[in-house]
Symmetry: C2
Subunit: 330 residues, 2 copies
């Protein structure tokens, strides 16, 4: 295991992305995002993703260097066309307007379309929590999830993420897939030859299975939480795609771009200003303490913050293989 | 079974609520709400609730006749103090402003506090779906749900509800508890002497149990969907209580009001105007059709709409016992 200072990892990744033809600003945004995932132990969205980024960029999919177009008519609903570029770049471009509107109106919403998203969702919301705002975001992806009782995938793994300030502690932040498992977990179980928990997926004929290979070979994942989770998964398609003007997960079509692996869909981000009430961050802290006292020993984000502190002290952990892989793309 | 025209049931319930001392407007709002639940087959929120409404009103709990106070400063975040009155009354009072702001800004949010809520949540959002808007609402209740691994209830059953327009069909509407089961379902299972599905609740020592009596006697429900559902349940406390200025579920204290059974907490309602994009309702219809074609034979709201049509043709179904119970309160 190698330990690299965070800034060095960002610089290395930015160089790597530029070497793939990305303009400097896009390369920097993706590098910071990917390095933050690696730093915080969100390894499935860390440097592990780089080969798929590169393969997508080489496939000619989307328009990764596109400048996002912000449609500002002075209202608190801000619509942005990423024009095939990355969601994180569009979000950065829209951020000053979003902050302006949420402070003026107490609420603002970003409706982002034609955007590629290939990372965790918590990096999109956490900075708003740190700025004292409540943030909720949803993004759809590509159809790998069947509705309960169904045989055809229509939903993406469709994550949702939330952040809000918490007095005397880092913001309360969570990020969770709408599917019972992340797709990567199924791949890992298949490689290691172990069965999955009940209720996570179906085989090609729509029958429940615990065999990861049956899910990967023509089967599909299920939403978490049964019918309730299915309503959430469908609602995320509605908010992230129908509302924004982006593609549904089932409409992502890579067939003309072999090697492309990054969905280009849509994303919704809602911001609330909690400072129009009284003592919001103190109340969140009080609730957070009560939930811990009630016996939930780990709250979402606890592990991430612990690993982040470790990485800040000792550097971000990478394997030698990871580093060799990154260097092969320079 | 008796069949009563909807308008007659509303009139009967309004008379009943007035007989309990409620002012006419409050009585009318509650009557329409309760009758709509009965009509649509949401029986656990229909006339079944009347004895608990009456017992709460007689206990002196809250301030059911209070006029809600709307704090309007021209922004799209509208804060309302129900002052101990019913949430549905406050929502009706705030509705014109909410519609004004969401049309002007593309997004609006209601932060409602000190509000009693004792009904289903779909009646709060459905009218906005019918008006062409996207609506999402959450409300917290009283602490009957433990976090995973916990022994002390801190969350309410915390429902969330969603509505949006759908081309050529009624709005897409769902309403679901944050708990694995509704509290009423546990009571029914106990009465009928049957076991619950795995993972719905814990006994007084925090151990998983399928025995409904163990849940009712010092135990608690679990959130649906494990840790992911627990994050949602906590987030609903944050949005419905911390954000609005209402009480957390664990803070509801009826001890000075024997007979009180209606939590007085808070509620958040988010509205989005989807008409700033293109073809939203058509896209929702397309998704809805795709989900049905994928094999999910019933979407949320389908059953409600079928029973509503039946009730419109034949009248709302009540048992003779229901009717005698209602008449006993006139």
């Amino acid at each position: 295991m190698i330990r690299l200072p965070f800034a060095d990892l960002v610089a290395l990744l930015a160089r790597l992305f530029r070497a793939q033809g990305l303009r400097a600003e896009v390369a920097q945004v993706l590098a910071e995002n990917c390095a933050a995932c690696q730093r915080d132990g969100a390894l499935s969205h860390g440097v592990f993703r780089i080969p798929a980024y590169v393969s997508t960029l080489r496939s000619g999919w989307g328009a990764p260097n596109a400048e996002p177009v912000i449609e500002d008519n002075g209202a608190a609903q801000i619509r942005v066309d990423a024009r095939g570029g990355f969601a994180q770049v569009a979000l950065q471009a829209a951020r000053p307007l979003l902050l302006d509107r949420v402070r003026a109106q107490g609420v603002a919403v970003l409706a982002l379309r034609n955007s590629q998203h290939f990372s965790a969702l918590w990096p999109d919301v956490e900075p708003f929590g740190e700025a004292g705002l409540v943030a909720l975001s949803v993004v759809n992806s590509m159809a790998v999830v069947v509705p309960p009782g169904g045989t055809t995938p229509v939903f993406g793994t469709n994550p949702m993420a939330f952040a809000c300030p918490r007095d005397g502690e880092p913001p309360y932040v969570w990020d969770q897939a709408g599917s019972a498992l992340a797709h990567g977990d199924v791949q890992i179980a298949a490689r290691q030859g172990h069965a999955l928990p009940e209720g996570c997926g179906v085989d090609a004929s729509g029958q429940l299975t615990t065999d990861p290979n049956a899910i990967l070979e023509g089967g599909a994942l299920l939403p978490f939480g049964g019918h309730k989770g299915a309503s959430l998964a469908m609602t995320i398609e509605i908010l992230a795609a129908a509302f924004t003007g982006g593609a549904f997960s089932s409409e992502v079509d890579w067939s003309a771009h072999p090697g492309a692996k990054i969905p280009c869909t849509g994303q919704m981000l809602l911001l609330l200003d909690p400072d129009r009430g009284a003592g919001f961050a103190q109340r969140v802290r009080q609730l957070s303490d009560a939930v811990r006292a009630a016996g939930q020993d780990r709250l979402p984000g606890d592990r991430r913050r612990r690993l982040r502190a470790e990485a800040e002290a000792q550097g971000v952990a990478l394997t030698e293989d990871d580093l060799a892989m990154l260097q092969s793309y320079l």
